[in-house]
């Protein structure tokens, strides 16, 4: 009685604690949470950029359907209303080149920003040439624009700076709004104020965009709306959008799949037990286990990832086995429960199976891939809890007589089948050879080493994103030079040096161009040099007289120019604060970032768009060109982001493989110590290894590359399958035919629930969940089949 009270009290206390932990945990679906956590400094910067960089904050907006004029009108209306929304830093749709604030900033600081400001530009022949060009411009089609500037800026520095900011590729424009190259979509770019890692804020921003679009649609003049068939629709893309959509997808999938597999398993168990009450009691260990898993992850990690929850579905399939063993195997003759007998003869096997699984999952814990470590902890906590509840709580809650059907006849039939299959056991020994052949002959690589394999975003959506970025001339920056230095000033100066060092490559067409924060905020070094290149008022006045001798300009009409140059000479240097309120501020913040106590200036490189080297950048050559940049604590490194991230992931995949093998070795040791017989260890492990090989072979033949989550699936096959193998091993020693029949029947029931749970997962549209499902469902089934076929013949002979 006392043990019963203690067990129930402890259980209730645990449930309360678990519920509190789970309720207060932070949940995330940010894909980058699954990115590795402790890479090299350069890779850490990369992960930071993926998570919080300016690209991560960008929402690409496409308006499809209707006609060009309607789309452009919608684009303008949408931009207008979103620009009034404080959640957005800026909205670009091509409807005005530069804002008034930008123009004022450029005009006000033209002598510090213009790359043309060099010694000699404001005296003698240099000044005469610059003025002649300015006069030429007055007579050009830009005359209207240039005329207002001429009196104060006759050398055209404002237009030069604006030219510096022009990008090589520009979006198409249809009816005054940015458009895709094929002209079928109007495009906008929203720069969200919140970080791309803040999924909630991104979701709110997406909602604001949709609402503004609906309002703009409703405000269309009626004839335009009526003519516009098909109706205009909105489509969003971008890193933040993907995070939001993935979170929704994973949540939806996790709910849907848990519901489906729970329902299937419940219906199936109801058919077996023929008692709703037993069914409900049998679910207690599962629910406790799932809660324990979430609570453990919440306590062990700061954030619970959505995928970990999705993975919880799988635990239903596995931990339900424990109660099945208790309920089915503990069934005495005539429906009377043989509690003590089960504890004596079956519990040790269940316990050993549980330990085997725990050891398998322990191997995931040291993984530096946070997602994998979470899955490991979740599974261990869940399994241990489910086993403990089955052992100590469930028996206290079960009535003495279980109102359920006897499964012994089913077990008898199964044993007979197994005996017939046993004759074909030699065929299994061909399996390793066949699997090896399949893996060797398969055309595609067995392992997928790209991080993209884990991406739940559909290939169609990824293509749309890539195409839209290309249309906007904002193709994903793949190659970037990272200049790291102690201070922002040193980093900016380093970025300027890097740009200068790469200029010959740009001139030769090996690079289409480079960008840098220093274009918008030059280093103090450069600003001082430009100030030094400016003459004082007296000198400039004298130079103007000489320089205008052959030009139709009176020096007196350029008094404003003389004043401005004199003022710029002694003006305070430009700082980041001066950029506030301009579009350049975001550019500088994106390309000059504090990182690990130092400052990194990013210099994105644009690959050539045509010619023999189109879309490729010779990294070795870039790195060699950068050699003079690295000195005095400043370091310049060129990074291929895609390659770095893939290398990062491949590293973690290999680590996970090593850890899994270590886990397998640990299982081997555990079994050897417990079973104390090489033959028995072999008989227990052989079906598991064969099942794993068969699953590998099928994937290789079908050309489905395996990723890190498949590895988890293979580990699960061993973990779950070990229960079957151990029970077959035990059944061989059982004298009572009825008991043996029940054991085998319980294994089939447990196996089918597992297959149902994981089978449902295999149909998930989230690749990582589907990976686990498509590995474990067939693997578990094969593990049972192989265990049955390989079981010791004398067990069947006596049946």
């Amino acid at each position: 009685m006392r043990t019963r009270a203690i067990a129930l009290l402890a259980w209730a206390a645990f449930l309360a604690l678990g519920a509190w932990l789970a309720a207060t945990a932070r949940y995330s679906a940010d894909l980058t949470a699954f990115l590795p956590s402790a890479p090299t400094p350069a890779q850490a910067l990369l992960v930071d950029q993926l998570r919080e960089g300016p690209t991560s904050r960008m929402i690409l907006i496409a308006i499809e359907g209707a006609d060009g004029a309607t789309r452009a009108a919608l684009s303008r209306a949408l931009a207008r209303s979103l620009r009034a929304d404080a959640r957005f830093r800026s909205i670009s749709n091509g409807d005005s080149g530069t804002s008034v604030a930008d123009q004022q900033f450029v005009f006000g600081h033209r002598y510090l920003l213009s790359e043309q400001v060099e010694p000699g530009r404001f005296a003698g022949a240099g000044l005469a040439d610059a003025l002649a060009e300015g006069v030429d411009l007055l007579g050009s089609s830009m005359g209207l624009l240039a005329k207002d500037l001429f009196a104060r800026d006759p050398t055209g520095e404002t237009l030069a700076v604006l030219g510096q900011y022009e990008r090589a590729t520009r979006p198409n424009v249809v009816e005054g709004a940015w458009s895709s190259r094929d002209g079928r979509r109007a495009l906008l770019v929203a720069d969200v104020r919140a970080s791309g890692a803040d999924t909630d804020a991104q979701q709110v921003a997406m909602g604001a965009i949709s609402a503004a679009f609906e309002a703009a649609l409703a405000a269309l003049p009626r004839p335009a709306a009526a003519q516009a068939a098909p109706p205009a629709t909105l489509r969003l893309s971008g890193t933040g959008v993907f995070s939001v959509e993935s979170r929704e997808l994973i949540e939806r999938e996790a709910k849907r799949l848990s519901a489906i597999s729970t329902l299937l398993i419940a219906l199936f168990l109801l058919a077996v037990y023929r008692s709703p009450r037993v069914l409900l009691l049998g679910m207690l260990p599962v629910l406790s286990g799932a809660l324990a898993g979430v609570a453990a992850v919440a306590a062990g990690f700061k954030v619970v990832h959505g995928l970990t929850l999705g993975f919880g579905v799988t635990l239903i399939g596995e931990s339900v086995d424990y109660s099945i063993y208790l309920l089915v195997q503990g069934q005495g003759s005539g429906g009377r429960r043989d509690q003590a007998g089960w504890l004596r003869s079956f519990w040790p096997t269940v316990r050993l199976g549980m330990f085997t699984s725990v050891i398998g999952f322990l191997s995931l814990l040291p993984s530096s891939f946070p997602g994998l470590a979470q899955l490991g902890l979740y599974s261990i906590a869940g399994l241990v809890c489910a086993a403990l509840v089955t052992r100590f709580v469930l028996p206290e809650l079960l009535p003495a007589r279980l109102p359920m059907a006897d499964v012994a006849p089913l077990g008898m039939a199964l044993l007979a089948t197994a005996a017939r299959l046993h004759r074909w056991r030699w065929a299994l020994w061909l399996l390793p050879a066949l699997a090896l052949a399949a893996v060797l002959l398969a055309r595609s690589p067995l392992w997928n080493t790209g991080l993209a394999a884990l991406n739940p975003v559909s290939p169609e959506a990824q293509q749309f994103d890539a195409r839209t970025r290309a249309d906007l001339g904002a193709a994903d920056v793949r190659t970037v030079v990272v200049v790291t230095a102690a201070t922002p000033e040193a980093a900016l100066a380093g970025a300027e040096d890097a740009t200068a060092a790469l200029a010959p490559l740009v001139a030769r067409g090996e690079l289409a161009g480079t960008d840098s924060a220093a274009r918008y905020l030059p280093s103090a070094r450069t600003q001082r040099a430009r100030q030094a290149a400016l003459p004082d008022a007296g000198t400039l006045r004298a130079s103007l007289v000489a320089a205008t001798r052959r030009l139709p300009v009176a020096p007196a009409s350029l008094a404003g120019f003389v004043d401005d140059v004199a003022a710029a000479r002694s003006a305070p240097l430009l700082t980041r604060a001066d950029l506030d309120g301009t579009a350049m501020a975001a550019a500088v913040d994106g390309m000059l970032v504090p990182h690990a106590g130092r400052w990194s200036a990013l210099v994105p490189l644009e690959a050539p768009h045509a010619g023999p080297g189109a879309w490729t950048i010779d990294l070795g050559q870039v790195q060699r060109a950068l050699a003079p940049v690295s000195h005095d604590g400043t370091e310049a490194v060129v990074l291929d982001l895609k390659r770095e991230s893939d290398a990062l992931y491949a590293g973690y995949l290999h680590e996970a493989m090593r850890l899994s093998l270590a886990g397998f070795a640990a299982i081997l040791v555990l079994l050897a110590v417990t079973l104390r017989s090489a033959g028995r260890v072999l008989r227990v492990l052989a079906p598991l290894v064969l099942a794993v090989l068969a699953v590998l072979a099928v994937h290789a033949l079908a050309g489905w590359p395996l990723d890190i989550l498949h590895l988890v699936g293979l580990l699960l096959i061993v973990a779950i399958g070990s229960n079957y193998a151990l029970f077959f091993d035990r059944a061989a020693a059982q004298a009572d035919a009825q008991e043996r029949a029940r054991t085998v029947a319980s294994l089939l029931v447990a196996n089918l629930t597992t297959v149902m749970g994981f089978g449902a997962l295999a149909f998930s549209s989230v690749p990582v969940l589907a990976a686990v499902g498509s590995t474990v469902a067939p693997g578990a089934l094969l593990a049972l089949l192989f265990s049955a076929v390989l079981a010791r013949p004398d067990a069947h002979a006596r049946a």
Partner: protein
Amino acid sequence: MRTLSWSGPLFALLCALAGPAARADEATARDALGELLAAVAARPHAHASFVEHHYLGILRRPLESRGELLFVPPDRLEKRTLAPRPESLRVEAGQLTLERGKRHMSVALASYPQLAPLVEGIRATLAGDRATLERLFVVGYTPGNGTSRSEWSLALQPRDAQLARLVRELRIGGHGSDVLRVETLRGDGDRTVMDITPLDPG
């Protein structure tokens, strides 16, 4: 035909505003404008050379530039300056593209309500797009007098008040179906005169 059907209601409205006394004269002048625009628009395309003089207050003497013009109805207009410095200005489907030396600029006309009417005024005249002309400008038409019946001039005054401060008037003069002179009068007294010589009519 499209021009007429569009301008119908607008014409009626203008007549009503002008009052009964002006009605007869207006109607005559406007019919003649319709004829002129139809004649200009009837040309499949136009290729011409031009000489442009800029008279700017800030400069002591006018600037001269010369080059070629090309118009392909209904909406492609190209101005190729050859001297003193090569430059190309192209307007097509509402998109303005400027190439000058290394500089390449491409903007949507609709984004520049201050600039668009100037280009549109010339384009609409060449295309015979009377509706657009009258939407953007107060159109004054002076048909040729007795001695040279076929000489005419159009005075286009921007309806947009902001634009009117920048550009007071666009004067387009011609002979028969040829446009021979485009004069831009700026709000600040500066002006640009472009003289046009057709190269291969029709």
